[in-house]
Every structure is written in C-alpha cells, then in structure tokens.
C-alpha cells in the first residue's frame, strides 16, 4: 500500500485504525478505494454518507433526478435548500463538507448501455437504484467485468439486501428476469417508511466497506430480508443458476444484446 496516513487522517480515522480488523493498512485501502453509488435517493443517501465518513477515497454518484420536497422524508443527504437541485450536486456537496479526503465524481445521468462503461473504473458498486432496468444493467455489467455489487431494495416496511461477487451467484440467479412493468409497485405508488432505506442503505454501506477492505464474510449467496414492522432479519440461501444469462454455463460476454426495458431479457434477434 503506497498511501500513508497524515496526522489529520490518523486523528479522523482513529476509531478505525485502532481496530486490528482495519488498522492503518485497512484505512489506507479505503482511501485508495473507488466505490460507485448508483442512485442518490433513499438507499443511496446513507451509503454516500457512511462511505464518505469512512474515507473511501473516490466516490462516484450516478443519478439523473433533481431533489423534490417529497424526497426529504428519507433521502437524508439532501436538505430543504436543495429542492430543485440535481441530486448528484447536492450529494457531492454533502461529501465535500463532510470529508475533504474524498474525491467525488457526480454523473447526472441515468445509467444505460451507452454510458455503462463508466462503471468499469470502480472497485465496488452499490446498487441503490430505484428501478429494474438499472438494477439488471448493473448486475450484468458488473458480473461481466468482475466488479462486486452491494445490492439493496425496499418496499413499504420491508427490505432485501444481498451481495454479488464474481465467484458467487448474481441477481439473475435469484430473479432471472424483471417482473412485467406495473407488477411490482414502486414507492411513489405505495409509500415507504422514511427510515427503512436508512436501515437497508447502512447494510449496503457495511458490505461495500467490507468488500473494499476484503474483510469479513459478505452477504454472498444469501438474501437478507428485513421487516421493519416485525423487527426481524432473516437470510435465505440461494445458489448459482447453471442457466443464468450472465454467470451460468453459457454466459453472455457483453450487455450489448440485452434489452434493458422493464423485463430485461436478451433480444431474440
């Protein structure tokens, strides 16, 4: 590790450095890491906050939305003054205020096949997206390029999280194709408990930090269910699917032929 910590950093990250599991080398690894957060909304907010605080040296943030007042009930990286501002700008401003060690790159765009190459510059991706086309594109591209993904998704009072690493099952092993549009309701239709994405996003941030440190046992081959009403956490195991489009026996080697509409299938022509 070529990076060494200066006096300010030794102070700032002292609670990390004092632990054997992180230590100065681990903190230097975090400062050297590049993490991309896809989505600066409910899930992305706590992810961005904790990764910035942890001193992840390079944070990328992708989002094409502007802050709306109805976001503020859960998207805690944005403030009242940010209404109308692009979320990537507001989130980047938060990061710069919190920790000058972090270089932040905002991409005010929606991730598509045409711009997904930007993901290849990152060591770890956090999928905090709000829609199936982006989620499947992230899964597929990252699997093809051996980039680990910390995934999270929410519904009203429930959440799901899992971690997708190159030698483990991928999101398509669990859910081969996205449901038809309109089958699964979104937050705008159903509502969401404001603190719910906070809990799930913190789990994703934890996984991203572990991946960057190469420490602990990531949530691989396990889907974690969180139920805020019952206050229960459960994990169920899942396996690599030999028929999986991206990590099975006959995998695709590019996302070029995948149609990222809501069903996310490979085009038949």
């Amino acid at each position: 590790m070529s990076l060494s910590l200066d006096a300010t950093q030794l102070d700032r990250y002292s609670r990390h450095i004092i632990m054997d599991e992180v230590g100065p080398d681990g903190q230097a690894r975090l400062l050297d890491a590049s993490v991309l957060v896809v989505g600066a909304g409910g899930l992305g907010s706590p992810v961005i906050q904790y990764l910035a605080a942890a001193g992840v040296g390079h944070l990328g943030i992708v989002d094409d939305d502007v802050v709306e007042r109805s976001n503020l009930q859960r998207q805690v990286v944005h403030g009242d003054d940010d209404v109308g501002t692009p979320k990537v700008e507001s989130a980047a401003a938060f990061v710069r205020r919190l920790n000058p060690d972090v270089d932040v790159d905002g991409y005010e765009t929606r991730l598509t096949k045409e711009n997904v190459e930007l993901v290849a510059d990152y060591d770890v991706v956090v999928d905090a997206s709000d829609n199936f086309p982006t989620r499947y594109l992230v899964n597929d591209f990252c699997r093809i390029h051996d980039i680990p993904v910390a995934h999270g998704a929410i519904y009203k009072f429930e959440g799901q999280a899992t971690t997708l690493v190159p030698d483990g099952p991928c999101y398509r092993c669990l859910f081969p194709e996205a449901p038809e549009p309109g089958t699964v309701p979104d937050c705008a239709t159903t509502g969401v408990l404001g603190v719910l994405p906070g809990t799930l996003g913190c789990i994703q941030a934890t996984e991203a930090v572990k991946l960057a440190l190469d420490a602990g046992d990531p949530l691989v081959g396990r889907l974690l269910f969180y139920d805020a009403m019952d206050m229960t956490f459960e994990t169920v195991p899942y396996r690599q699917n030999p028929d999986c489009l991206v990590c099975g026996d006959d995998p695709i080697d590019s996302v070029a032929d995948v149609e990222y509409t809501d069903a996310c299938t490979v085009s038949s022509d």
Binding site: N131, A153, I154, F175, P179
Partner: protein, 96 residues
C-alpha cells in the same frame, strides 16, 4: 393430512390479505398441492404469482428456507414461502 405454513413477502402479502397462513393437504402432497391450497379462493394472489399458467420466473419459492421445486413432497409443519423482488425508490420515470 399434512398442515404446512405459508409465508408471503412484500406485495404478495397485501394481495393475499395475510402474511402468514396455514393450509392442510393430503398425505403425500407436493409443494404444488400446497400452493394450490394457498391459491384456492385467493384469485388475486393467483393472478399475481402465475404467468401463463406457471409460477412466474420472478417469484421465488422456498421450503424451510431453501429453494424448492413444485414436485417435492411436503411434510407436517413445513414452512413454505413466496417472495418477489422489490423495486426500490420512487421511480418517477420508467424510461431506459
């Protein structure tokens, strides 16, 4: 007779009107029989989880916390579960 417990997650629980329910099936019954018993009288749930007459690809089926097939047998006090993917934030746009 064999009694098994069904657990439903996310919007499946809402469509069904219940997060948990028990069903009773005959001896030697399969997961498919238990699914039929669950869906009997729950047409909304049937429409939600079936796609062209089979369980939709995006709906996962578990028996005692492990991936299950419709053809395997169920035993007394088994826990069966159905879960869909959940979407995430407020998609004000579903463009690709």
């Amino acid at each position: 007779m064999t009694t098994v417990r069904w657990r439903l997650f996310a919007d499946l629980a809402e469509v069904a009107g219940d997060r948990e329910t028990t069903v009773t099936v005959g001896d030697g019954a399969t997961v498919e029989d238990a699914l039929d018993a669950l869906l009997d009288g729950r047409n909304g749930l049937r429409a939600r989880v079936f796609d062209d007459g089979t369980l939709a690809d995006h709906v996962n089926l578990l028996r005692n916390g492990d991936d299950a097939s419709l053809s395997e047998s169920v035993e007394e006090d088994d826990e069966l579960a159905l879960f869909p993917p959940v979407s995430g934030g407020a998609s004000s746009h579903h463009r690709v």
